[in-house]
Symmetry: C2
Subunit: 661 residues, 2 copies
C-alpha cells in the first residue's frame, strides 16, 4: 500500500463503510453486492487481457464469449433478480459493454410487452433459448430522436396476408442499433404502417434477418457493422437495408394496434403506454451519470494523492498534487456532483416505481411531471458528467491520456448518453415545454403541485427581476435551505423570462412555432436552472435522512460546495435577478475556497465510499493501493507493439530509406 | 452536389476566395499552398485505407511508410521551405501524426542548436541521412512540466572520461517521448548532471539506444512502447530505462555548458537561450487550436446545412438543423472563435519573429511579456478549442460518434495540447505571475508597456469594483472598441482582486508560497480574463486591416458575436465589477440572438473560406459536396467487421450456447 494513500485514509473524519451502506441503500445490499462481485474475481474465465490491447474484431469476439458465459453462469448461480443480474454484469464488463445487450434490454422486453398471446407462445421460447437473438431497430441514418420522421415502410398486402418491408431511401437504412451488425438474427423493426392506402404511423415488426442455423443474411436483407466509433468498439452497432422483405401478418406486434387479415387497421387503446419506458430509461441514465462521474473522481482523486509534483514552498519535498488549490477546485466540485447525482438517481428510481404503481391503477396524473423531470435531468446530468470526466482526465496530466488510466474509456463509453434515448437539447426543450405550460397555468390561476409549484402566481410576483440594489438581500450563503430558495427563485425568473420572450415574438407577428424557436436559447437555460434547483433540493433533502453525525457533516459540506460552486459559475443569473448582492457573490468565492480546504482530508475517503472494485474500475491511476508507477510500467510492457523487439517497419521502410537518399 | 449546400453558397454575401486569401496571408500564398496540396491528391502512394480500419500495429506501419515516402518525395520535389514542408506534411497526414515527427521537430533542431563544432561534424550527417533516427527524451513517468524534478542521472567518471546514465527509480523512467518506443535508435536524454560530487542540474546527452544496423536495443537499454492512448495510435510514444549506460564524454551536448576531461564543470553563458524555443512552440499551438476548431466547425456547419430533422412549423418539410436557434447558438460562437484564434495565431507568429530579431540583437526586454502571453494564450486557446470540438461533435447527433465524421479523431489528436508543452493550469499561473508582478510595478509607479499597460495605476483607480448601481454605464454593446475597453477593465479588476487575495493571505501570516497557492483560483481567473481581452482586442485590430467591405462586414459581425457571447457567458464578472448594468446584460442576450440570425446565410461560406480540402479533413459529414448519407453507407461497408458475412464468434460461442442451456 502506498504510504501517502494510507495516510489519507487515516485522516478521514467519518466511517467509510457506513457511507457505502447509504449509497447502496443499506448494509444488506452492500453485502449482497459484494458477494455477487466476488463471483467474478475468482472466475478464471473473466481473467482476460485488457480490451485496449485487442483489435476490434478480437474485442467483439471477447465480448460475445463473455456474454455467452454470463448467461450460463447466471443460471448456474441462480441469480435472477434484475438488480443482481445488473450488478454481476457490470462487474464482468468493467468499463465496456455487452455484445447481447440489446437482446436483454430491448428485444425481450418488447416481446414481453407487445406480443399478443399467440405471438408470445411462438416468440418467447425462441428468444429465451437464444434461437432468436434480437435487437431493436428504430433509428435510421436520417432520423433519430424525431420518430415521426422515420421512413422505413411496411405495406400490407391482403392478397398474400403479408407485410412488405422496404428501405425506400438511403437515409431510411436502419443505423446504430447495437448487436444488429453481426450478432442478431432477428430485429424488431419500427416502420410506417401502410394498409388499404392509408398510413397509420410507426409500428413494430419482428423481422428475421439471418438464418437461425447458418447465421447467413436472409434474402432481401443487407446487414452489417456501421464501422468504428468513438467507444463501443466491442459492440456491432449495425445497419439494415430492407429490400421487399415479406413478413407474415402476425409478425407485426399486435398486443395493442392490429391489422386484420383483410387489411383493416385497429387503433391501440392508449398512446401513453410506451411513454413509460422512455421515462424509465432516462431515469436510469441519471444513475449512470452518477456512476461514471464517481469512477472518474475516484481515479483523479486517488492519483492526485500519490502524485507529487513541483513545489509550493521552496526547499520542501514536492507536495501531493491534491494540495494545490487549483486541483481541488477542479475535482472537489465534481466529487460533490457525483454524490448529488447518486442521490438524484435514487430519487428518480423511487419516484418511477411509485408512479408506475399509480399508472397500473390507471392514474396518469403524475406522468407529465415525471416525463419532464426525467427528460431534463437526463440532459442535465449527462452534460455535466460528460464535461466532468474530461476535467478529471486532464487533471491527471499526461497519464490521463493513457488507456491504462481508464479515463479515456470511461469518457468514450459514457458520452453517447448525451445523444441516445433523446438528444439532450431536445430533452431540455421538452422540459421547457412543461415549464412554460405550467407557468401559463399558474398565471391563469391554477394551483400547481410537484417540483413546478414554485411557478404558482403568488411566488412569481415576489421574484420579478429588478435592479440589484433595490432588492433587500436576506440570503444566508451558509444555509442550504436558503440556497435552495435562491435556486428556486432563479429558476422561476428564467422560466418567466423565456415565457416573455415567446410572448414578445408573438407580438412581432411571429407564428407560435417561430416564436418558440426564437426563444429556445432562453428555454434551454430555464430548463437547466430548473434541473439545477431540483438537484440542489434533492441533495439537501437527502441530508435529512442521515443520522450518523460524522457522515451528515461531511455530506453537508459537499452539498454546500455543490450549491455555492453552482452559484459562482452562474453568478450572472443571481446578480441579474437581484437574488444576491455583489458582496454576497464575493463571499461565495471565499466560502468555496474554505470548503475545498475543509474537504481535503476526507477526499480519498469520500471516493473510497463509492466502493468500486479495482477490477471493475480497471484503472492503474485509480488503484486502491495507490501503487501507480510500477503497474503502469508492467502494463505498458504488455502492449502489443512490444511483442517484437524490432517492428517490421524498420526493415520495410527505414533501412531502405537510407540507401535511397 | 447536394442542393441544400449549393443554395447556402448562393446566399453568401461575400467572396469566399478573397477571405481565404486573408486567412492564408495573400493570394500568392493560397496559390502555392494549393499547388503543394495537389501533389498529394495525385499521388497513389497516399491513397491509403482509413487508419480507423487498421490495427494499431498496422497504423504504425502505415505511418512509418508515409514518413519515409514523404522524405523522398520532398527531396524529389525540391520543397525545402519550412512552411511548405509543413503544408505538404499536413496534407499527407490528414488528422493524424508523423512517425518521425520528433526527429524533425526536436532531435535535429537540438543538434543544430546545442552541438559544438566537433559534435556537429559528427552527428549532423548521421541524423540528416537517417543513420541516426532520434527523439527527445525529457518527460519521465514521475515528472512532466516541472523539469527540475527529473530524476535521471548522468554521473561523470573521470577515470574513463565517460558519463554513466541511470534511471534510479521507476518514476525516473523516460515516458511519453514520441518515436521513442520502436522508431528511434538515438535519444537526446535530459538528465541531472553530476560531476566531482556536485549536481549541476538538467543537461542534454546523445544516447544511442538501438544498434544502427540491426535496430536491436543496446546493452543497458530497456525501451518500448507505452501502450495504447487516447489518440496518437500511429505514434510509438515510448519508455526508456537506463541501466548503467556508459557514454563518451563528448556525447554531452557542449555548445553552452561543458564538462572538461578532468570533470570540471563550465556553466553556460545564459539561461535564456532555451526559453525562446518554448515560446515558439506555444505560439504555434495557438495556430493549431485555430486549425482544429476550424475543422470541427466546417464539419458541424456543413452537416447541419444538409441534415433535416423534426419540425419548426407543423406540416412544413423538416428544416435544416442549422435553422434551429439552439444549433446556431452552439456553432456560430465557435465559428467566431475559430476566426479569432486564426488571427491571434497570425499575431503570435509575427510577434515571435519580431522579438526573435530583437533577441538575436541581444535585446531580451520583450521576452517576459511574450513568454507570459504565449503561456496564457496556449492554455486559453487549447481549453476553448478542446471543449469546442466536443460541442461540434455532439451537435452532429449520433453520426458525430462515428469515426467517419472525423470529429472523434480531431478531438483525441488535439486534446493532448492541453497538457503537452506546459500543462494548462501551470501555464495560466505563469501568466498570472507576470500579471501580478506588473500590477505591483504599476503600484510602485513604474510605467508599463505592452498588453499589460492597462495595469498602469491611473487606469486601475478608474476601475475599482463597486456596487453596480453606483457606476454610470457608458458602454455601447454594439461598438467593438467599447467592448475591448470593458474586457480590459474586467481583466484589470480580476488581476487586482487576485493580488489583493495574496495580500490578505500574507496578512494572515501565511508564507508567500501558501499565499500564492491559496489565491490560485483567482490567479487563473485573472489570466483567463487577460487572455480573453487580448483575443477580443486582436480580433478587433484585425478588422482595421480589411479593405473589402463585404468581408469587413461579416467579420465584424463575427467579432461582435465573439465579444458579446463572452460577456453573456461571464456576465457575473461584468455585473460584479459594475462594468455593465442589468439592462445591458439583457440587451447583450438579445443582440446575440440577432447576430446568430444575421450570420445564418453566411455560415457555410465562412467555413468554406478556411479552404480545408476534403482529403485533409477526411470527414464524411464535412464533405464539401454535402453528399453525406451515400458515403456514410459506402464507408461502413468497408468496415473490417464486414470482411466476412458471419463472424467466427457465432460458431464459437452463440451456436454452442443454445445446446448448453
Amino acid at each position: 500500500m502506498n504510504p501517502d494513500i494510507t495516510r489519507e485514509r487515516k485522516n478521514a473524519t467519518f466511517d467509510v463503510e457506513k457511507l457505502t451502506y447509504i449509497l447502496d441503500g443499506g448494509p444488506e445490499k452492500t453485502k449482497r453486492r459484494r458477494e455477487i462481485e466476488s463471483l467474478v474475481f475468482s472466475d478464471p474465465d473473466f481473467n482476460e487481457e485488457d480490451p485496449n490491447f485487442l483489435s476490434r474484431s478480437d474485442r467483439y469476439d471477447q465480448a460475445v464469449r463473455k456474454s455467452a458465459q454470463m448467461i450460463l453462469k447466471l443460471r448456474e448461480y441462480g441469480i435472477a433478480d434484475p438488480e443482481e443480474i445488473y450488478c454481476y454484469k457490470k462487474m464482468v464488463q468493467g468499463n465496456f459493454h455487452e455484445a447481447l445487450g440489446l437482446h436483454f434490454v430491448m428485444f425481450l422486453p418488447t416481446l414481453y410487452s407487445q406480443c399478443d398471446a399467440e405471438q408470445a407462445r411462438k416468440w418467447l421460447p425462441l428468444a429465451e433459448s437464444f434461437q432468436a437473438i434480437g435487437t431493436y431497430a428504430q433509428t435510421e441514418m436520417g432520423h433519430g430522436t424525431h420518430l415521426r420522421g422515420l421512413e422505413t415502410t411496411a405495406t400490407y398486402d391482403p392478397a398474400t396476408q403479408e407485410f412488405v418491408l422496404n428501405s425506400p431511401t438511403i437515409s431510411s437504412i436502419k443505423w446504430w442499433p447495437g448487436g444488429l451488425g453481426k450478432t442478431s438474427n432477428h430485429a424488431i423493426v419500427l416502420a410506417q404502417l401502410h394498409t388499404l392506402g392509408n398510413c397509420h404511423g410507426i409500428h413494430a415488426f419482428i423481422v428475421p434477418i439471418r438464418d437461425m442455423s447458418t447465421h447467413i443474411p436472409l434474402p432481401g436483407i443487407v446487414v452489417g457493422d456501421i464501422g468504428p466509433k468513438f467507444g463501443f468498439s466491442e459492440v456491432d452497432n449495425g445497419f439494415l437495408k430492407l429490400e421487399n422483405v415479406r413478413l407474415p401478418r402476425d409478425n407485426m406486434l399486435m398486443k395493442y394496434a392490429k391489422v386484420e387479415p383483410d387489411g383493416t387497421y385497429l387503433k391501440p387503446p392508449s398512446a401513453k403506454l410506451t411513454y413509460g419506458t422512455m421515462v424509465f430509461i432516462r431515469s436510469l441514465i441519471v444513475g449512470e451519470s452518477a456512476r461514471a462521474l464517481s469512477k472518474a473522481s475516484i481515479i483523479a482523486i486517488r492519483y492526485s494523492s500519490v502524485r507529487h509534483q513541483s513545489e509550493i514552498r521552496a526547499g520542501e519535498p514536492e507536495p501531493q498534487i491534491l494540495d494545490y488549490q487549483t486541483q481541488q477546485y477542479k475535482l472537489f466540485p465534481l466529487l460533490a456532483t457525483a454524490y448529488a447525482f447518486t442521490f438524484v438517481g435514487q430519487y428518480m428510481r423511487e419516484t418511477y416505481q411509485r408512479i408506475s404503481g399509480d399508472i397500473s391503477d390507471g392514474d396518469f396524473s403524475q406522468l407529465p411531471e415525471l416525463h419532464a423531470l426525467s427528460a431534463g435531468l437526463k440532459a442535465f446530468t449527462t452534460w455535466t458528467t460528460n464535461a466532468g470526466i474530461e476535467v478529471c482526465r486532464m487533471s491527471c496530466g499526461g497519464h490521463g491520456y493513457s488507456r491504462s488510466s481508464a479515463l479515456p474509456d470511461i469518457y468514450v463509453e459514457f458520452t453517447p448518453a448525451c445523444t441516445y434515448e433523446g438528444e439532450n437539447t431536445v430533452m431540455m426543450l421538452q422540459t421547457a415545454r412543461h415549464l412554460v405550460k405550467s407557468y401559463r397555468q399558474a398565471k391563469e390561476g391554477q394551483q400547481l403541485s410537484g417540483t413546478v409549484s414554485y411557478l404558482n402566481d403568488a411566488n412569481l410576483q415576489r421574484v420579478q427581476p429588478q435592479t440589484v440594489a433595490a432588492r433587500p438581500t436576506v440570503v444566508d450563503v451558509n444555509d442550504l435551505a436558503s440556497l435552495v430558495e435562491v435556486y428556486k427563485q432563479r429558476a422561476a425568473i428564467l422560466v418567466e423570462l423565456s415565457a416573455k420572450s415567446i410572448q414578445q415574438e408573438l407580438q412581432r407577428r411571429k407564428c407560435q412555432e417561430d416564436a418558440w424557436n426564437n426563444s429556445s436559447i432562453d428555454l434551454v437555460r430555464a430548463s437547466d436552472a430548473h434541473c439545477h434547483y431540483v438537484v440542489v433540493k434533492l441533495f439537501t433533502d437527502k441530508l435529512g435522512e442521515i443520522g450518523d453525525t460524522a457522515i451528515h457533516s461531511v455530506l453537508s459540506t459537499l452539498a454546500l460546495l455543490y450549491a455555492l460552486h453552482g452559484i459562482k459559475n452562474n453568478s450572472g443569473d443571481f446578480l441579474q435577478a437581484g437574488l444576491l448582492s455583489v458582496p454576497q457573490v464575493l463571499q461565495v468565492s471565499v466560502r468555496v475556497k474554505e470548503l475545498l480546504s475543509q474537504l481535503r482530508p476526507n477526499a480519498v475517503a469520500l471516493v473510497d465510499s463509492f466502493d468500486i472494485n479495482d477490477k471493475r474500475l480497471n484503472s492503474i491511476l485509480g488503484r486502491y493501493d495507490g501503487n501507480v508507477y510500477e503497474h503502469l510500467f508492467e502494463w505498458a510492457r504488455r502492449s502489443p507493439l512490444n511483442a517484437t523487439e524490432v517492428h517490421e517497419s524498420f526493415h520495410k521502410y527505414l533501412k531502405p530509406l537510407r540507401s535511397q537518399l
